[in-house]
Symmetry: C2
Subunit: 207 residues, 2 copies
DNA sequence: CCCGAACCTGAGCAAGCGCTTAGTGCATCG
DNA sequence: CGATGCACTAAGCGCTTGCTCAGGTTCGGG
């Protein structure tokens, strides 16, 4: 009697990718790219992980690069959505910044395989595809910069170099995808909490 | 009358690599690996950049992987040396931490091509070589953790989670290699200064 | 003046790569 | 029931890859 089994549901990891074979291939590719890197992964490896023949990949994707682009695009969209939603949740600049960092880090840790591909394989994209992704990153940058500016204006933050500090905050969050390990001691939630606190200390005015 | 032209001088970037052909190949490899990544770089590309034939590479290095290992090993040694030297320069924990971050970041920005290879291509190493490099990283970790512990004991720092904060500080420094651009607005010195300040704020007790 | 060692190249091998093509199995429809 | 369309595979094409090897060049020492 549950109406829950809806494969196009937006909160299912790759629910927007259809049909099922295309999604299975994409999930396999994320796994392989995260593990070995884009260039070290073969189309045979991807197809094998999805339980299909190498040729099946080319029915759903024109090239291996297009597959990377689909992953990168959807992943960046999701990351930006998580960040934006948190920043718009209201409250003081400090609360908004903490929530933004907490959510963004939680995503990079919890979905660290996707995040690793999304953040570290941009150079493997074609020129046009890379340009499209870079634009999405600029928007993430704008979100954080906006919160910092608000906090400086209200006097809650003391940030001498807003662009530089924006860079540092995003860099800190993104790099979580590199080192986070599922078998480590910390949960994504714990890392998010720790990082939100550290970032707040970086920007808060002393009084 | 200058006695300066000593190719084995330790402060020349790759002075420890001899003979000259081996060094030229290694420098070419650093360039190529930083630009495209290890797996996307061909031995022909490396040899071509060094102005030699593909076969020349195999006179000086057994495999492409050994070349990466040499780069990784020397680079990590240098990074660790920079960090250790700064941390031992004396002063309060705050001064030592600031100097450590300043130096470490300066190195990652100024030598960002080397740093990128060193920090982001570990997975391309063989198991034994990777283990060797991981050990060097543990030592970098120990240096930063030591300073934080000293600061907490003296009451100068307020750090609830020393291992977690150590991770964050190193992560922040290392990720500089990913985004730093020579054509950007900031010099390695400026980034080092900014980051030293941000890290101090992260850990300082308020009073 | 010639030898041997060190260094380097031209040519190319076996393996693996991304991707294509011809054909098969299967659901759908008049 | 045969025809049509679609997802998929087996086989393999053309090319590039990491790496090898026979042979040539250079040069200090006897």
């Amino acid at each position: 009697m549950t109406a829950a089994q809806d494969t196009t549901a937006e909160d299912v990891p790759w629910g927007e990718v259809a049909p099922e074979a295309a999604r299975k291939l994409l999930v396999a590719a994320v796994e392989a790219f995260a593990e070995r890197g884009y260039h070290a992964t073969t189309t045979r490896d991807i197809a094998g992980r999805a339980g299909m023949s190498p040729a099946a990949l080319y029915i759903h994707y024109k090239t291996k690069e297009e597959l990377l682009h689909r992953i990168s695009r959807i992943g960046h969209d999701k990351a930006l959505e998580v960040l934006s939603a948190a920043s718009e949740r209201g409250g003081s600049p400090g609360e908004r910044l903490a929530e933004a960092v907490r959510s963004f880090v939680r995503w990079h840790a919890g979905r660290h395989d996707t995040a690793r591909v999304v953040q570290y394989e941009i150079d493997a994209l074609s020129e046009e595809h890379r340009a499209e992704i870079v634009e999405l990153r600029r928007r993430s940058d704008a979100v954080v910069r906006g919160i910092l500016r608000d906090g400086v204006e209200s006097g809650e933050f003391d940030v001498p170099d807003v662009p530089g500090t924006t860079l540092a905050v995003l860099s800190l969050c993104i790099d979580v995808a590199r080192w986070f390990n599922v078998r480590g001691r910390r949960s994504p939630e714990e890392v998010g909490e720790l990082y939100a606190d550290l970032v707040l200390r970086m920007v808060s005015a002393r009084n």
